[in-house]
Symmetry: C2
Subunit: 288 residues, 2 copies
């Protein structure tokens, strides 16, 4: 649905009129694939089969890719046109992410009449978060507290406080290790105050890494070079459908198409990047 979006072209850029996102993330990727399908007979290699897939719900949890059943097909490579990096760049190595929900359970009491009978879950959670390191804690390793929510009323010692966050790293083992450390710190803080902790975590998406001499990387780099682009293999912390597909056993790479400032009202894409992306798509299909 593009209704309400006014697209303007300024200095070779496509952008919105500033009152909304452009939605180039990821309509630009769809445009690249649709353009490819529009004249596929001109360039297709009839000795190979191709599948074009438009996945839904990538932003809210990679659900489309997660429910994609490719088991009937002998898929050897998946090209995901969804990175905000400019054409020439591709995500060779991508961090994986786990989400966690830590619920601190204290004890309610009237905060003025008998506060000593209560245990403030907010106070406990605050101390835990205060001692918790977030941000970029190492190369390609990030931790965030996304949300916090606790308490009911000003005059009630808060019986519970929920803290949600995520941990990303290149290695899934490292993520699990950091999750354990998180749980331990939070649990120790809860115990110090006689509070309880319920800690839950789940995988958001797995990491992926392709060797520099792997078949998929060699094909990727040839396609980029053939399009006259400077090749940049990236290590990245942002996820895409490529993470899910790699986890399911289909070698996949997320490709830069240059939809810049995604999710912001000043989102834009250069027309030259759209053209370059279309060329990359053609090259990928034609080489092996």
């Amino acid at each position: 649905d593009t209704s309400g979006i006014k697209v303007v072209e300024i200095d070779g850029r496509l952008q919105s009129d500033g009152t909304s996102q452009l939605g180039a993330d990821n309509r630009a990727g769809m445009a690249v694939v649709l353009d490819l399908l529009a004249d596929w007979e001109q360039w297709i290699d009839s000795r190979r089969n191709y599948i074009a897939v438009f996945t839904i719900a990538e932003e809210i949890g990679l659900f489309g890719a997660g429910n994609l059943d490719l088991s009937e097909y002998n898929v050897d490579s998946v090209w995901v046109f969804d990175s905000s990096k400019r054409p020439g760049a591709y995500i060779q190595v991508c961090a994986g992410t786990y989400l966690f929900t830590a619920t601190f359970k204290g004890k309610a009491a009237h905060s003025a009449v008998n506060p000593e009978a209560g245990i403030s879950a907010i106070k406990v959670a605050a101390e835990a978060v205060s001692n918790y390191q977030i941000g970029k804690i190492a190369d390609m390793t990030t931790i965030n507290i996304g949300t916090i929510k606790g308490g009911y009323a000003n005059n009630v010692v808060a019986p519970d406080c929920e803290v949600k966050g995520e941990i990303r790293a290149i290695s899934e083992e490292r993520v699990l290790e950091l999750l354990d450390e998180t749980e331990r710190l939070f649990r120790e803080t809860a115990q110090k105050y006689g509070a309880k902790l319920v800690f839950e975590s789940k995988k958001d998406f797995a990491p992926y890494a392709h060797d520099s001499d792997s078949k998929i990387v060699l094909r990727m780099e040839k396609a980029l070079r053939d399009a006259g682009l400077e090749v940049t293999a990236l290590r990245y912390t942002g996820g895409s459908d490529a993470n899910v597909l790699n986890e399911y056993g289909y070698p996949a790479i997320n490709i830069g198409i240059g939809a810049q400032n995604p999710h912001a009202d000043d989102e834009f894409i250069l027309i030259e990047d759209l053209i370059a992306s279309a060329q990359i798509a053609r090259n990928l299909i034609q080489n092996k």
Copy 2:
């Protein structure tokens, strides 16, 4: 509205069947006043005037009392039948309460792609709350953090976090001093991280204190003694309509009527306490 409440009498107690609150807080107070009005001709002192008032919305902010206009009447004493203490006790000195809302303003950023561009308001708020003393910090002086709420999504460095709380003390000056200290601590923590703080506070209810030899206290204690009760003058941190009325210049006292465990499903009142409260009401009207 008492529909849905099944009142049962067990061992001289009135209580609900355990599936709901009894609502004795404050239907018991209303019962005392209604009982008084039922046979007022028998005991009234015709040389005095009396006003019976049923206030609304006490629980959610003393709004009924706050909007009560008594200016046409020459009110010298107000008796509020609303304390959960047992008959014989009354609130001679009551803390006042201010509410505050502290909103920490950080800076949003993608938590994995460029976390260093963000300032986590949750982290800042957590450190501030962690260093903040809550609970009973001195005699009749309490502080509470009621609620905390911050952040939007797991993968966004939280741009804001709101902390709400209350401060109670016998002296309004002391409450204001503690509010200042709160704001200073929170502001210093925000500044340390380059975050901002919006701090707002407002009076919930004023404190009150009646001297032991004041007319209202002497009348109160005589009424209790005449009812054969052990007199207990209390200092208390819980508010009532009496706080608002004292602030408006009408000497008021909150009186124990024994509606125990208020707001809980095991709330109850002893029938003997209802009878004693009715007697207190008669005595108060008859003595001067």
